[in-house]
Point group: C2
Chain length 325, copies 2
Amino acid sequence: MRRDDGRTALGVDVGGTKTEILLAGRGGRVLAETRIPTDPEGGAEATLRHAAAAAHEAFGAAMDEAAAVGVSVAGQVGRRGVLLGAPNLGWTGVDVRRLTIAAFDLPTVVVNDVRAATWAEWRLGAGRGVRDLVVLFIGTGVGGGAVIGGRLLEGADGIAGELGHLTVVAGGRRCHCGNLGCLEAYCGGWALEERAGQAALADPAAGAALVRLAGSAEAITGEVVAAARKAGDALATRLVEETGDMLGAAVVGLVNALNSRRVILGGGVMDGFPDLLDRTVAAVQERALPAARKRVEIVRAGLADDAPALGAADFALVRRPRMQR
Amino acid sequence: MRRDDGRTALGVDVGGTKTEILLAGRGGRVLAETRIPTDPEGGAEATLRHAAAAAHEAFGAAMDEAAAVGVSVAGQVGRRGVLLGAPNLGWTGVDVRRLTIAAFDLPTVVVNDVRAATWAEWRLGAGRGVRDLVVLFIGTGVGGGAVIGGRLLEGADGIAGELGHLTVVAGGRRCHCGNLGCLEAYCGGWALEERAGQAALADPAAGAALVRLAGSAEAITGEVVAAARKAGDALATRLVEETGDMLGAAVVGLVNALNSRRVILGGGVMDGFPDLLDRTVAAVQERALPAARKRVEIVRAGLADDAPALGAADFALVRRPRMQR
C-alpha cells in the first residue's frame, strides 16, 4: 500500500443519473474509467459504496496506488464537504466527504461538479497556462466557474460560480431558480425549448416547421431547433440568434467585471449550436471595454464529458487531502 | 530620514478636477490632508510635481517619515503603473509611477481610484474582517471592486472591477462605454438624469413637477428627482424604483456568481436616494440563490470622499513598494 505517493487519485462524479469513476495520474492522464447508474433515492451512502465496489472491480490492484478521492457532485458543496443544496439528487445536508471516506477508505475532497470541470479545463483543458479565466457550461442548465489570479473562485461559503444566474434581463423571463432574467432563463437548454414552444404557439405560421418536426409546440427540443435551423427556418434562426445575444451580453459583462484572459464555453447547447461561439466573440469585440477586450480569448471547452470526474481527481492530487474522519 | 520604517505613507488621489493628498499611518489613521486643483491639460508630470510641493508645504517635516506613495488615478492602471485608459484625464499611456517617483522621491504604487476605495472599505471601512466582498460605487458613473478569498480582484491586466459595465438589460439603454444595457446606463447619475428627461418629454403631464423644478426636461438633475420624490411625485418615485430594480438585479447576479459575504454600496446616488439600499436588500432576499443569500450582508459604504487617497496610502503601506526608476 502506497497511498501517500500522490501519483494517482480517483475521481468520482456523482450526477443525477450516472456516477462516473476514473483513476487519473498527474497531468490528467486517465488510467482507467468505469460508470454505474446513480440511484438518488437509494441515498448517498449506498451510491458511494456501489461506486467503491465498482472501482475495485474495474481497477483492481491499481486501487492500492490511489492516494485520494476527489468527489464531484451536482450540488452546492460547503467547505467541509457537506451538501448545502442538491436539488437534482435530493441530498441536501448530506456529509458526502465522510461517506466517501467510509466507502473508499481514502482521504477525500468534495467539490461541485461544475467547479471540478472548471478546474479540469484550467489545469488540463482549454484554460492551461492562464491565471484569469471564466468558464461557462451551457447545457440544460447553465453553470460556471472562474480562476482569479491563479486561484479557483470559491466564495465565502464555497458555492461561488453560479454564472448561469447572473441577471441579463432585469425583470425578464422567470428562471427555475426563482429570479427573473437569469442567463440560464434564456440560454439553458430548458429555456431554449420553452422559448421555442412559446414562440411557436404565439405565431403558428412562424412555428409551423418546428411543430411539424417535433409533433407539437410543447415537444420542441433543442435538437429540433438545431435541425430546423440547419434547414433555414426563420424562427429557429431567430431563437439561436437571441440565445447568442444573451450569451454575448453576459460574457461582455463578465469580461468587463473580471478582466479575464480567457473565456471558455462548453456544454450541450454550445455543441448543438456551434456558431454561438462566433456571436459571443463578436459581442465582446464590439461592446466590451477596449482595455478588457484587447487580449481576451473566447474559446471552446477542451475536455469531454468526463471533465468533472477528471477535475475532481486532479483536484485531489493537487490538494492532497489528509484522512480525517 | 527613515523612509523604510513603513509606518506612514502618502496617498495621492488624482481626480478630474482635484487632487487629494494625505498622510496616513497604519490602520488608516489620517495624520494630515490637503488638496490642489487638477489641471489635466497641464499634464501628469506638472500635476504630480504640484502635488509633491503641496505635500511638502502642508505636511512639513512629517514628509521625511513617509515610506512610500500610493497614487490613485481615475483610469485603467496597468500592472506597472502605466495608464491603459484615462478618458477623464486624457493621460492614456502615461507612466504615472515613474512620474510620481520623480516628483516625490519615494517608492510608489499606482492603483485605480475605485480599486483604491475598495481596498479602503475592505481594510478600514464597511468591509473589515471579510474575505469575500463586492463594492459598488454609484455616482455619476458606476464603478466597483471586489475582494475574493482575501485578495483584491485585479484581473489579467490589472483592470478588473468594472462592475458598472455588467449587462443588466441585454440590448437595453446605450451606455457611455458603447455597450447596451449596462448597470451604469440605468443607475449612474448621468443615466438617471437622462431617463428622467426622456420620461418627462414622453409624458409631459407626468413630468410636469420635475420640469417645473428643473426649468426644462433637459435640466433635470439627480437632486431634482430627489426633491420631487420627497414631495411624492409619481414619476420621480417610479424612476427611483426602477433604479433600485436595476441595482437589485445586478447585485442578485453578483451574489450568485461570487458568493460574497458582504456587498458594500456607496457613491452619490446611494447618498441621494437612501432607500435604494432597502430595495437592493429586498431583491437579494427574494431572488438570489438560497445558499448564496443566506449569510450575505448588504451595507452602506463606511468611508468618506477621501477613501481613494486613504486606500492608496494604505495599499502602499501594505505592499511596501521598492524604489525602482
